[in-house]
């Protein structure tokens, strides 16, 4: 993959130009499905898009100095990082990629939550700081499981290339890894039961409390693209390899939407756990998956 195709992938397909509508669509599906599970009608089609446009046209209070600059900077960086993450997804197989892009995808997926933490602290609001500290604690714990899952998957297939992973067949270890990723996704996407970061009944909107206008719009966009990237990652891992690129693309979208729906059902069925319960949960998961993963790797070695 050369620089041009990389840029093209990041900006056009499946990057920003494609990812932004996809982000709004996924956010809309999430809200609409949530409403359907609660006997409601839910928002009109592409509501997140209207929210985005409206927020773009809303005034931002003047903020001076380094704090103000940083507050402007973080959402832009978050959008860039998540757009990059989406750009790496092998939506249509054999369309590029390089060995080791899974590692890059992981770090790009991790960056928005780092930026959220930074944003909460630079907004200098008490609630922002509380939300940021919660996000920091939470990300430390779920990332252990997340990384373990990714490493397990990569180890089972002996590759860090998304392309190769999309092409290869599943194995028990891989399914275990996908399960672990699915458990982490609600925390990554600030969904119930791990929505402690933006628990509005406790700490207002958490790190986002002070944000408004186009900055908030960019955060929402970054959040939506995180959805696309994260569900896309799962879809890549569970999709069976198909020869026809169009079929593969369609399957990718269907699987992504299915993941969104699964996450929505989980969110609708649970209450928010407290931060210490969440952390405890993830460390237990980490322990369980570590034991399972190591033992299965050992078993595979013995077989070999």
């Amino acid at each position: 993959m050369n620089a041009t195709t990389a840029l093209l992938r990041m900006l056009v397909f499946p990057g920003i130009l494609f990812a932004a509508p996809a982000a709004w669509f996924f956010l809309w599906i999430e809200r609409k499905a949530m409403a359907a599970l609660q006997q409601r009608i839910g928002p009109p089609f592409m509501q997140p898009f209207f929210d985005f446009v409206k927020l773009m046209g809303k005034q931002v209070p003047p903020r001076e100095g380094l704090g103000g600059f940083l507050m402007k900077l973080w959402p832009v960086l978050a959008v860039a990082a998540s757009a990059g993450a989406v750009g790496l997804l092998p939506v249509i197989p054999r369309s590029g990629g390089f060995p080791g892009d899974l590692v890059l995808l992981l770090s790009l997926l991790e960056l928005p939550s780092m930026f959220i933490i930074a944003a909460g602290f630079s907004s200098r609001s008490l609630w922002g700081e509380l939300g940021s500290s919660r996000e920091a604690i939470l990300s430390v714990s779920y990332n252990v499981v997340f990384l373990m899952a990714i490493i397990g998957i990569a180890a089972s297939q002996h590759t860090f290339s998304l392309q190769a992973l999309a092409q290869s067949q599943g194995s028990p270890l891989r399914w275990l890894g996908v399960l672990a990723i699915l458990i982490c996704l609600p925390a990554k996407l600030h969904m119930n039961p791990f929505s402690v970061t933006n628990a509005e009944q406790e700490i207002y909107a958490g790190p986002m409390t002070e944000y408004t206008g186009h900055e908030l719009a960019l955060w929402e966009l970054a959040h939506g693209m995180e959805w696309v990237a994260a569900t896309g990652l799962v879809a890549t891992l569970i999709a069976p390899p198909l020869a026809n690129p169009w079929m593969a693309g369609a399957l990718f979208v269907v699987l992504s939407v299915a993941v969104v729906l699964v996450l929505t059902i989980v969110a609708a069925a649970t209450a928010r756990l407290t931060i210490d319960d969440s952390v405890r949960f993830f460390w237990r998961c980490a322990l369980a998956f570590a034991v399972l993963g190591v033992s299965s790797v050992l078993l595979m070695r013995i077989k070999l």
Binding site: Q38, V196, Q201, T270, A271, R272, T274, D276
Partner: protein, 361 residues
Amino acid sequence: MSYRIPMGPYHPALEEPYKLELVCDGETVQDAKLNIGFNFRGIEQLAETRNFIQIVALMERVCGICSNTHTLSICQAVEQIAEITPPPRALYIRVIMAELERLHSHVLWAGVAGKLIGFKTMFMTCFAVREQIMNVLQTISGNRVNYAMNRVGGVNRDIDDPAMILAMIGELEKDMVKTVIPVFTTSHSALSRCTGVGVLSEEKARSLGVVGPTARASGLPQDLRRAAPYAAYEEMDFNVPVEHSGDVKARLVVRALEILESCSILRQALSKLPAGEIFTGDESEMEIPEGRGFSRVEAPRGEVIYSVTWGEDTDTPSRVHVRTPTYINMPAVRWMVRGARLADTPLIQASIDPCYSCTDR
């Protein structure tokens, strides 16, 4: 390092403006300080400028959630001064309204509790169930919230169609027994937020003198409907649910059981509804003599006490004093939140079902 967190006065967890200042160590709450008064409208003083018809509509706006309780209390107090006994049908209608109000208030509480623990589906389900009750209230009284049902000497509106309410109660009970209660009690994530949180021991409850469901959840079987029956409660047969663990879950269970008891009371009242007048006395000729009236009513949140003094040859009271359940239960919150997690504080303070607009008046 401990730091202070000011919650409120406009905080999403609080329906009403008040300020809760928490002293926290990390996410653990060490102490809480409550600042109220944002809702103070001077109603007790205003009541001294209203005559006995106007005062009912005024007292109704002490609190929009338990509005019937307040009108019932003031009417009972004034009736005591004027020595009026409302006809039996009016007493039954008062019981029906009081129980409908308890139903809607408890279901509302369950919904708000669901919202506070981030359980949006529970919130939506409870409110969808609650709409049935609101429909009935609207059919009976002509409004969804402030019913304007009570008047000195009886009630304003008759219940024309008891069968419709009976059908609704059947539906509601089915919804509660089959949906809301099992869902709340089988959801691990919801239970993990409620169990063992905000414990108020029986001794502490006794020494603080808490009232209502908060007391009953701490093992104090006190209920005015049983202890000092008013309206037609003497003729009703019901249980007073008591739990002993004193945590948020116990308060939840007490309220859930009370909803079922309310349904049973409603059923009895509606089937025994006596015929006859719905009020005594002609309001245009009624005179309130000098005297003092005192009335106690079991609101959804606990005991409401009204003390009304009427001066000589006036058409306005000389003093109306109200003691609301939240006023008594509030200090208990301080003991409940000590050592609790910050995330549980909204739920703990909501578990007494606070009503600061009653308390501030």
